[in-house]
């Protein structure tokens, strides 16, 4: 591991609140170790700002191990930065060079209004799940876990889809700000498992409706979402969702 420290110039989106105009502000990140994570680099900058009596840069973050989905920033034009299959919190500074200028922005999408600096409101994603991203099973009525067989291949593919962390990078990277990858990951997971079958038609129509109402756009097959997804969720789930949707539209009993 290299021990060489580096200096970077940051251009960070600062915005005091949802209704205030924002702007880019330049900061120097000094003496950064290549082993620091991107968020730890921002921590260092914030420590300097605090000591100077300035307001620190606000950003969402929590687990810092790539699973909670809280961190959400566009780095040099890419959601979660340059490294494939990685959240911002797991992006390390060894992927940057001394003297680099790094531009940092919040997610940009109509359905993700900016709250402050790099923090956006992602409750639209929760609303989509509320509309149908579940199996309607109350506690107490479940049969024995091994009563229903699930082919291993289906379970594995369902798990591929279920790996979604709900960060919203798919919508942030899409020119249409579409959340199709997010929605399809849940639709696909539950369509692949027998437990999800009874509600599959209702689920897909309701979730797509709420997605559209929230202001997310439609899919035009650019696959930017898959490229930005920190869990590398495949756009093939969008194809499955479209099939589910079509089938539901044609055959759903109302």
């Amino acid at each position: 591991m290299s021990r060489r420290s580096m200096n970077l110039t940051l251009r960070v989106w600062r915005q005091k609140g949802p209704k205030v105009r924002g702007a880019f502000v330049s900061y120097q990140a000094k003496d950064i170790s290549p082993d620091q994570s991107f968020l730890e680099m921002l921590d260092t900058v914030n420590q300097d700002l605090l000591l100077k009596g300035e307001e620190p840069i606000h950003f969402d973050n929590d687990c810092r191990e790539g699973i909670c989905g809280a961190c959400s920033m566009v780095i040099n034009g890419q959601a979660h930065g340059p490294l494939k299959g990685t959240t911002t919190c797991q992006l390390h500074m060894r992927h940057f060079n001394d003297g680099d200028t790094v531009v940092i922005e919040p997610w940009r999408a109509k359905a993700f209004p900016v709250v402050k600096d790099l923090i956006v409101d992602r409750q639209s994603l929760d609303r989509i799940i509320t509309s149908g991203g579940f199996v309607s099973v109350d506690v107490g009525g479940a049969p024995d876990a091994n009563a229903v067989l699930v082919p291993k291949e289906d379970a594995e593919e369902a798990m591929d889809a279920a790996a979604c962390i709900g960060c919203g990078a798919c919508a942030a990277s899409c020119k249409n700000a579409s959340a199709m990858l997010f929605v399809s990951a849940k639709v696909s997971q539950l369509a692949l498992l027998p437990q999800g079958h009874p509600e599959r038609q209702r689920r897909v129509t309701e979730m797509i409706q709420v997605m559209q109402d929230a202001g997310f756009g439609n899919c035009t097959n650019e696959s930017e979402c898959e490229a930005a997804c920190p869990k590398s969720i495949s756009v093939s789930h969008i194809a499955r969702m479209n099939r589910e949707f079509l089938l539901s539209t044609l055959t759903r009993r109302r």
Binding site: K16, P56, C63, G66, A70, D126, T130, V137, K152, Q195
Partner: protein, 637 residues
Amino acid sequence: MSLDSHVPGGPIQEKWDRYRFDLKLVNPANKRKYDIIIVGTGLAGASAAATLAELGYNVKLFCIQDSPRRAHSIAAQGGINAAKNYPNDGDSIWRLFYDTVKGGDFRAREANVYRLAQVSGSIIDQCVAQGVPFARDYSGLLANRSFGGAQVSRTFYARGQTGQQLLLGAYSSLMRQVGTGKVKLYPRHEMLDLALVNGVARGIVTRDLLTGAIEAHVAGAVVLATGGYSRIFYLSTNAVACNVTAAWRAHRRGALFANPCYTQIHPTCIPVHGTRQSKLTLMSESLRNDGRVWVPKNPGDKRPPRSIPEEERDYYLERKYPSFGNLVPRDVASRAAKQICDAGRGVGETGLAVYLDFADSIKRDGIGKMREEYGNLFDMYQLITAEDPTQVPMRIYPAPHYTMGGLWVDYNLMSNIPGLFVIGEANFSDHGANRLGASALMQGLADGYFILPYTIGGYLASSSLPRVGVADEPVAGLVKENSERLTRLLSIKGKRTLDDLHREMGLLLWNKCGMSRNAQGLTEAKKRIPELRQEFWENAIVSGTDRDLNQMLEYAGRVADFLEFGELLVEDALTRAESCGGHFREESQTPDNEAMRDDANFCHVAAWEFTGVGRPPVLHKEPLTFEHVKPAQRSYK
């Protein structure tokens, strides 16, 4: 104050069934008349909220994250235990019960642990029905693996993301209830205080983290599901927002805090690499199923690991514990790593690491099989360290991970304050002095899906609760009091950052009250913490205002609470002059350096009562009796 655990009588196998029959029921039509406040949306909070709403109660649910799906349960990797005995390898409710009591070093309540083992199977049934994609065999049946400290394969898993999948299952059930209107969700809200009316918990005070508004909420009962306090060590595997504030605020209002010194230091974490690290990353201990732990036999051997011949390696866990080998419980594995490193045989730049080597398993089962089991963990390791663990052994070292201590609760999961329930990691729980791997997820979901929904009904049905409004005293006064505390925090115009102060306290606790503790170090820490607390209130930098989103103000409140709680943690560690589980007192060890309990003097739960900041807390003891698992020196040899 008398501490009554309310453990029902009768044979241990029948206690829970009989007790559920004895509990009063709330008439189905009356459930909608009750509001219940739940704080926290991890496995315990989300499962409790969904279940209580399904039953018909009105739930008000609070979390500090922007979405309930982000609670830290999401980061649990390895798996969840259940006594299903699907692999036919001799598991049973009794064995899970026995293993948990023994693994906890005989410091847990037998009746609670038995109940936990009893409901474990139903948890798996429920999760599968929700669409949790557990690992399966080609038969289509569920797969199991063995996990730290168990000799049977009772652990269910979803790759290395079991916590995520279980939490998303609970979250989906919860969001379904949000859709029905039975759960009202308050994301980005932090609990600042507990409201008591005539000694009964009737509400909480919260801060809306977006607008800064401080509000009171009232209900028939309050449930805390706010997790553990490992972040007191600053560097831990916990998410950075994990904190003790909700539990501590309840403690300040009279809830007893039990066994705070029982902290779990997890053996397999990526070692510390620099001074600006914000957290440590866990590598699931499922890796110990196939990875072999070793260090060079000779101190100071700096050759690269692959150049060290087999005969010059010390597979010290296999050598010291031939029957459990690399699968010894966490406390034993962590202590062994520390002892080896303290003896100068650690590896890596800092010497504070040991190898976890997959070469033999890759040779035996192939790299494909290893990647199928651990692919995401290998990738995570490589992202952080830039080393490929299939080519060079992982380097690992213990790190704070989980806290067995928490608010004291009885068999109903109710604290000593009527109406205040505590579930999941936040209570002092069923794990005694050491938690076994894959048992945290089990306990969180057991509490939320299958235990609390019954016991809280019994409480509500047998209590007469007068109407309380948010404008009534003493509730209204608490809003003002908490608002003044924030003003006080913002008025500190100091020169040290919160991060800097938190780091100093964390390092102090890690050194004096971490994997190994002694009276002298603990006494030093006890003296130093109040000094740090004073420095905090005089010299911290708390920027911004209380009228909008202010992450520094949030952090300041949490650090302030850690600085009060830290003193209690050290006091408990000092008072418990025995070793047990994760609490290792150097003065109390066997000739071969294993933890030596002192059952004659310490076979009790230590429940502490708050008497004021900086004033000595009062100790209450709940004696522990063991009718079924006879306390013995734990041996994994």
